[in-house]
């Protein structure tokens, strides 16, 4: 079965794989919007959207479960975005105004290319990552492409040619640039640890997970245990980079109407919306790969161990397909937990003031991440000597 698949020309395989990944990522990002509404409702003691039900489906037994979860509300919302009137205000720069939401979508979907989401053992017993492009620059590509997202925000704010979008865009660009520094510095200890002198240098995210799957107490520990400060700084910077509460500067509904997307409506607005959730999904994925062991189910328990233990009960467990699906499922569960955390924080905390955001970014997180880097550099140098 697999041989047949690998006989297909490479470019068709890549197109198929890319489409499959986008077909998974896009609905997840869309479902996040419903999850957000539901979680905010549950945190506030409300049931959330639970009434929408197409009359045609009302006879299906058990459909009320989907109704209570608001699945059809999600579909109705999506349909609304596609079919409602999509006005372009007269005072905007039309070309850039229309280009901005597309530009927001592209980096959001592009970063997934270098993010591995599972692994399987091939016939030779070698662990092979499930990834669209297992390139050595891995994390660098994620940082490079995802930071392009800020251009969409700036472009949207500038092309809208009105004051609130402009202010939102200015805030967004300052915030994103400030927190990118600490974010990049915070992951350096991880790669210092992986790239031991003498070995082959790599920035691949797959190798990060591999080095969290080693045997032994220190080998199997996730990096969140060995480098908690790095993980913390990365998480805070991630919140800022994905424009989530409490760093909700670009939108700031209460003082900037809607921030950079004030002038947008209908489908163009929904593209910004989905792009934000895509960033969240990819950001969570990278965070999990770096600090929470990727597709390994538990610290000190690797996917390979799990599969080999399962093989005693169900013999198909070592089959590449089973292992791949298991790995992806574990990874997705972790991503969902991480997204739940994002939403939990959002509905708990108020927004920081703008000067507080800048203070935290430049005066606290950046020195902290530099100190963290220096401390770990010395520590790792002493350990690996």
């Amino acid at each position: 079965m697999f041989d047949l698949y690998f006989e297909i020309p490479l470019w068709i395989r890549l197109v198929l794989q890319g489409t499959a990944v986008i077909l998974v990522l896009f609905p997840i990002a869309a479902a996040c919007s419903m999850a957000e509404r539901k979680i905010s409702a549950w945190l506030q003691g409300r049931p959330g959207p639970n009434r929408t039900l197409p009359p045609l489906l009302a006879w299906v037994p058990g459909i009320w479960v989907l109704q209570k979860l608001g699945i059809f509300q999600l579909a109705a919302d999506g349909g609304k975005f596609v079919f409602k009137e999509d006005p372009v205000p007269g005072h905007v720069n039309k070309f850039y105004f229309i280009a901005a939401p597309i530009l927001a979508m592209i980096p959001a979907l592009t970063t997934v290319v270098v993010v591995p989401f599972g692994a399987y053992l091939d016939s030779a017993g070698k662990l092979v990552p499930l990834v669209l492009a297992n390139v050595d620059i891995g994390l660098l590509a994620v940082f490079a492409v995802s930071s392009l997202g800020v251009y969409a925000v700036i472009l949207a704010g500038w092309a809208s040619n009105s004051k609130y979008p402009f202010l939102g865009a200015v805030r967004a660009s300052a915030q994103l640039v400030s927190y990118e520094l600490s974010m990049t510095l915070s992951v350096l200890p991880v790669f210092l640890w992986i790239n031991a002198p003498g070995g082959q240098g790599t920035l691949s995210l797959f190798d990060v997970v591999q080095s969290q799957s080693q045997p032994g107490f220190w080998g199997g520990a996730w990096f969140v245990f060995t480098m908690p400060l790095s993980a913390f700084i990365f998480l805070v910077a991630l919140f800022a980079e994905t424009n989530r509460q409490p760093f909700d500067m670009p939108e700031s509904e209460s003082d900037l109407v809607g921030g950079f997307h004030t002038e947008y409506g209908a489908f163009k607005w929904s593209l910004f919306f989905v792009a934000e959730y895509c960033h969240m999904v990819i950001g969570s994925a990278v965070f999990i790969l770096l600090f929470f062991g990727g597709w390994n189910p538990l610290p000190w328990v690797t996917l390979t161990d799990t599969v080999q233990a399962l093989a005693h009960i169900i013999p198909v467990a070592t089959h590449p397909l089973f292992m791949g699906v298991l790995g992806i499922s574990i990874f997705l569960v972790k991503i969902c937990l991480s997204i739940f955390f994002f939403m939990w924080v959002r509905w708990t905390l108020p927004r920081f003031r703008y000067d507080q955001v800048m203070n935290i970014g430049w005066k606290q997180l950046l020195p902290l991440s530099i100190a963290n880097l220096i401390a770990y550099t010395i520590g790792i140098a002493l350990l690996q000597k």
Binding site: I39, A41, W42, L43, Q44, G45, R46, P47, W344, V345, W347, T348, L349
Partner: protein, 179 residues
């Protein structure tokens, strides 16, 4: 009143990192996450409404089925926005309630004018008009928002009072009004 100057305590290091406060907040919201919801599923579940709520004005009948209104028109006179319009009529002689003499032929309350002040209920000598617990009136046309007599009795229902003032009066008349 003396002004008391309160020294503002400087924040401790942990407080300045925001982390204990954030964790505390997260704990609070998580507790609410697992609590049952506090909302009502409105059209199906109705809120409990206190007995003295001043909702839509209605007309009531007594336990014997006699309409209590005798069309004295006091409510019509007292109504500040002039929402009530009564056409008085006589009770036919062959009715068991003929001794009450009068009853409304038509009784309209324009709910677009009504201000729910409750003066009609207060002024009514027969306890026939009551502001009850219905709080949502809606309609597609202005005509729909005028409650006519049938609608008012339908909304009002029966007042379970046991005075039976008019029955006592009839009985007293039968005995020659002796005390």
């Amino acid at each position: 009143m003396a002004v008391i100057q309160v020294e503002r305590k400087p924040l401790s290091f942990l407080e300045r990192t925001y982390i204990p406060q954030i964790v505390g907040g997260l704990r609070t919201t998580l507790r609410h996450f697992f609590k049952p919801t506090v909302t009502l599923q409105y059209p199906e579940q109705r809120p409990e409404i206190s007995k003295n709520y001043r909702g839509v004005p209605t007309l009531v009948i007594d336990p014997n089925g006699r309409e209590k209104c005798v069309s004295c028109q006091l409510c019509e006179f007292v109504c500040p926005p002039k929402a009530i319009r009564i056409t008085p009529g006589e009770i036919p002689a062959d009715s068991p309630n003929a001794h009450v003499e009068k009853a409304p032929q038509a009784f309209d309350i324009d709910m677009l004018r009504c201000i729910y002040c409750g003066l009609c209920q207060e002024v009514c000598p027969e306890e026939a008009i009551w502001l009850q617990n219905q709080f949502s009136m809606s309609g597609y046309t202005r005509a729909e928002m005028v409650n006519n007599k049938a609608k008012l009795y339908e909304l009002g229902g029966t007042l379970p009072d046991q005075h039976h003032k008019w029955d006592k009066k009839k009985a007293a008349e039968a005995h020659g009004n002796e005390h």
